[in-house]
């Protein structure tokens, strides 16, 4: 796995697909993300993104989730 390929989820655009490499959020948020199924090796798809790089809506494990920007910058992914 090449290190350069790993980027923050927040940098992806609509319809991009990616696989989670690591979650660097603080403990509480990381736990909540894991409870919603966002753990390493999970494939996700960006459904939409707001203007101003605000929150994004993603599809993971068949569920739709909204993640604020402070979260998406802390989820590291590899673009598929």
């Amino acid at each position: 796995m090449m290190k350069e390929n790993v980027i923050a989820l927040s940098t992806l655009e609509k319809n991009h697909e990616a696989i989670i490499v690591a979650v660097t959020a603080k403990h509480k948020a990381a736990k909540r993300l894991a409870d919603l199924g966002l753990i390493p090796n999970t494939t996700i798809k960006i459904l939409r993104k707001t203007l101003f790089c605000g929150p994004m809506e993603i599809l993971a494990r068949g569920s739709k989730l909204i993640l604020g920007k402070s979260v998406t910058t802390k989820i590291l992914v590899k673009k598929l």
Partner: protein, 644 residues
């Protein structure tokens, strides 16, 4: 003898239709209160079914059984301490994989449980099919397909739950990965001689998750157990490179994923559904905003127009009642005090029926549809500027209708910090009564431009207060992480019941303080205290704010009900053409001060219910001093620039 009384608890995450099932089961036989000492809603009800009396408890929506939120802790403690005869775990069949993560945690509690797979009617449309029997075999608990909105499957859930209540609980056979299971086994060994209300395996897993509540159980008595857990946690952390709590969460996630893969098949490639088209429009990064403005704007406009009409009908009725009352009881001090109590209650009804009731109804429709989650999504970026996240939009929107339900709805925010900041901001949102004043004073006599300007000015103040509050309130902002519900038709029965119970709560919270303050104000008038009050306030009202001294009493009455300021202004000044007796600047300042100066009595009651009386007092004093300061400064500014 057969036990004929049962109690069951509904557990599940938000947006799975748990409350639809609850309302289907209990109808009007329900009671909504708070968990003792907590501002978290507790919905209980009773059901008579096949000779059983079943107490139904709707536990708060959660997505995990850890202890990060009060809701999670309440759910866990309730299941452990009151031992429901059976649990119904409601999950959204379309989100099987994610929802199973919670189900796996509930299974760890080893209580009789039925899995209600709700919204199966929508599966076909989504191109998913689920092997229910297969799932039942894997989980080793009854699995029932349910379409709660049509009442389908709910009785089967009950039947299977009831028969479960009389059986011995079957143990859970699901296993996590080897590394984790080995350590659970090791902890089981040290826990062998421990007596506890919690199942052993549950304790072991929670110790690996570093659960503070479980750790506390052993803190003083069994330090060796904690030592053991600590060393095992370190081992796990060494292997995986992150906290053992996350390791366990990952394990559950993987297990849920494996189960879901075994039972779920995608039957056809997914077509774009109507919901998705709607989603693309309402969540669109540009179009989403005008659509939101249109939906909310139209809602407010309709509510406002309709509300004023119905409200005037109620006022007419009150006038008739007043004449009859004084004709019957005579005009004595006692009768006028009694009547002021009655009319205060009517004032409350005149707010509750025409404004609050339809407002709640429409809000619940928007919520049931799933639109409010889209609003939170669209507004998150702006809300972050105020130090809170997108969900805070909902109380703020409510605030335009009435500040009371807005304050009560702040509990949707996750932390105390978020709740307080949101609560503080909602009381600055101009409610419908304030809109009446602004429209009747500024809109009518100075023009719509100035009314809009006044609103923008108040929004600016809200923004500044949000900024300051988010810096001054300790703690870090919570990130927005929420499930986005799919668009669906709301269940009108559930919405009607919710509206009804919320309306009752509103009257219950607000009426005592509104009636009492109504009587006190009438008493002050009878004791000829009004002129002294005017004189007492005149340094502020006339000298600093430049208003006629008689306004003092109005501001006093306005505490009870803001629109009284406008109503009584006419009777005090002897004309409804305010332009004859007030200068344009006075009109503008009076409206501005009315917007800012104090939360109404009912709002103060709601604030103190949600945040305690100290914080309610703090917010009240803040508003009063802010109104005085801003009013005086704007007056001097207006005089200086000579705008009018």
């Amino acid at each position: 003898m057969i036990q004929r009384k049962l109690n069951l608890a509904l557990v599940g995450s938000a947006n799975v239709g748990k409350s639809v099932i609850f309302n289907y089961l209990t109808g009007l036989h329900q009671h909504i209160g708070n968990w003792p000492g907590k501002t978290i809603e507790k919905a209980e009800g009773t059901l008579h079914y096949k000779g059983y009396t079943i107490d139904v408890l709707d536990l708060p929506g959660i997505c995990s059984l850890s202890t990060y939120s009060l809701e999670e802790l309440i759910t866990r403690e309730h299941i452990i301490s009151t031992k429901p005869d059976f649990i119904i775990n409601v999950i959204n069949a379309a989100n099987l994989e994610t929802n199973l993560i919670l189900t796996l945690q509930l299974l760890e509690l080893e209580k009789p449980m039925v899995l209600a797979l709700n919204m199966v009617d929508l599966l076909k449309k989504n191109g998913i099919s689920i092997g229910f029997e297969r799932l039942e075999t894997i989980l080793n608990i009854p699995v029932v397909p349910v379409a709660a909105i049509h009442g389908k499957g709910v009785t089967e859930v009950l039947d299977r739950g009831i028969s479960l209540a009389y059986q011995k609980t079957q143990s859970n056979t699901l296993k996590y990965g080897k590394e984790v299971e080995e350590r659970i086994e090791q902890l089981d060994q040290v826990l062998r001689n421990i007596e506890s209300v919690y199942p052993k395996r549950f304790i072991a897993i929670k110790l690996l998750e570093k659960d503070e509540v479980i750790e506390k159980l052993f803190k003083t008595t069994h330090q060796e157990i904690l030592e053991k857990a600590k060393s095992l946690n370190l081992e796990l952390e060494k292997i995986h490179g992150h906290s053992s709590a996350i390791v366990i969460a990952d394990e559950r996630c993987l297990l849920a994923s494996r189960i879901a893969k075994k039972v779920m098949t995608i039957t056809k490639p997914q077509k774009i559904s109507a919901g998705e088209i709607l989603d693309n429009l309402t969540g669109h990064k540009i179009l989403g905003y005008p659509i939101m403005a249109a939906i909310l704007g139209l809602t407010f406009f309709a509510l406002f127009k309709g509300g004023i009409y119905v409200s005037s009908l109620l006022d007419q009725f009150l006038t008739t009642l007043q004449v009859n009352f004084y004709n019957t009881f005579g005009n004595t001090l006692l009768s006028s005090l009694v009547f002021s109590g009655i009319s205060s209650f009517f004032a409350l009804l005149a707010l509750a029926l025409p404004f609050i009731l339809p407002f709640y109804f429409i809000l619940f429709v928007l919520e049931g549809l799933g639109y409010l989650a889209r609003v939170a999504y669209l507004m998150d970026h702006f809300m972050h500027k105020l130090g809170i996240h997108g969900k805070a939009c909902i109380p703020l929107i409510l605030g335009f209708g009435c500040n009371v339900p807005a304050c009560l709805s702040c509990r949707i925010m996750e932390t105390q910090r978020e709740r307080f900041i949101t609560g503080l901001l909602t009381v600055f949102v101009p409610c419908n009564a304030v809109t009446v004043i602004v429209a009747g004073l500024v809109g009518k006599f100075l023009g719509i431009r100035f009314a809009v300007g006044l609103y923008l000015f108040v929004f600016l103040i809200i923004f500044i207060i949000g900024k300051i509050a988010s810096i001054m309130t300790p703690g870090e902002p919570t990130e927005l992480i929420m499930e986005m519900p799919s668009y669906k038709l709301p269940d009108i029965k559930t919405i009607s019941l919710h509206t009804w119970f919320k309306l009752k709560e509103f009257i219950y919270v607000a009426s005592p303080i509104v009636i009492i303050s109504g009587i006190i104000i009438e008493g002050a008038a009878a004791a000829k205290l009004l002129n002294p009050i005017n004189n007492f306030l005149s340094p502020v009202t006339s000298q600093w704010l430049g208003l006629p001294p008689a306004i003092g009493i109005l501001l006093f009455f306005g505490i009870l009900r803001k629109e009284l300021i406008l109503v009584l202004l006419a009777s005090i000044l002897g004309t409804t053409n305010f332009a004859l007796v007030l200068t344009p600047i006075q009109i503008f300042i009076l409206a501005l001060v009315s917007m800012l100066y104090i939360p109404c009595a009912a709002t103060i009651a709601a604030l103190s219910k949600e945040f305690g009386w100290q914080k309610a007092l703090l917010i009240t004093l803040l508003k009063i001093s802010l109104a005085i300061a801003v009013g005086g400064l704007v007056l001097r500014l207006l005089n200086f620039v000579n705008l009018f």
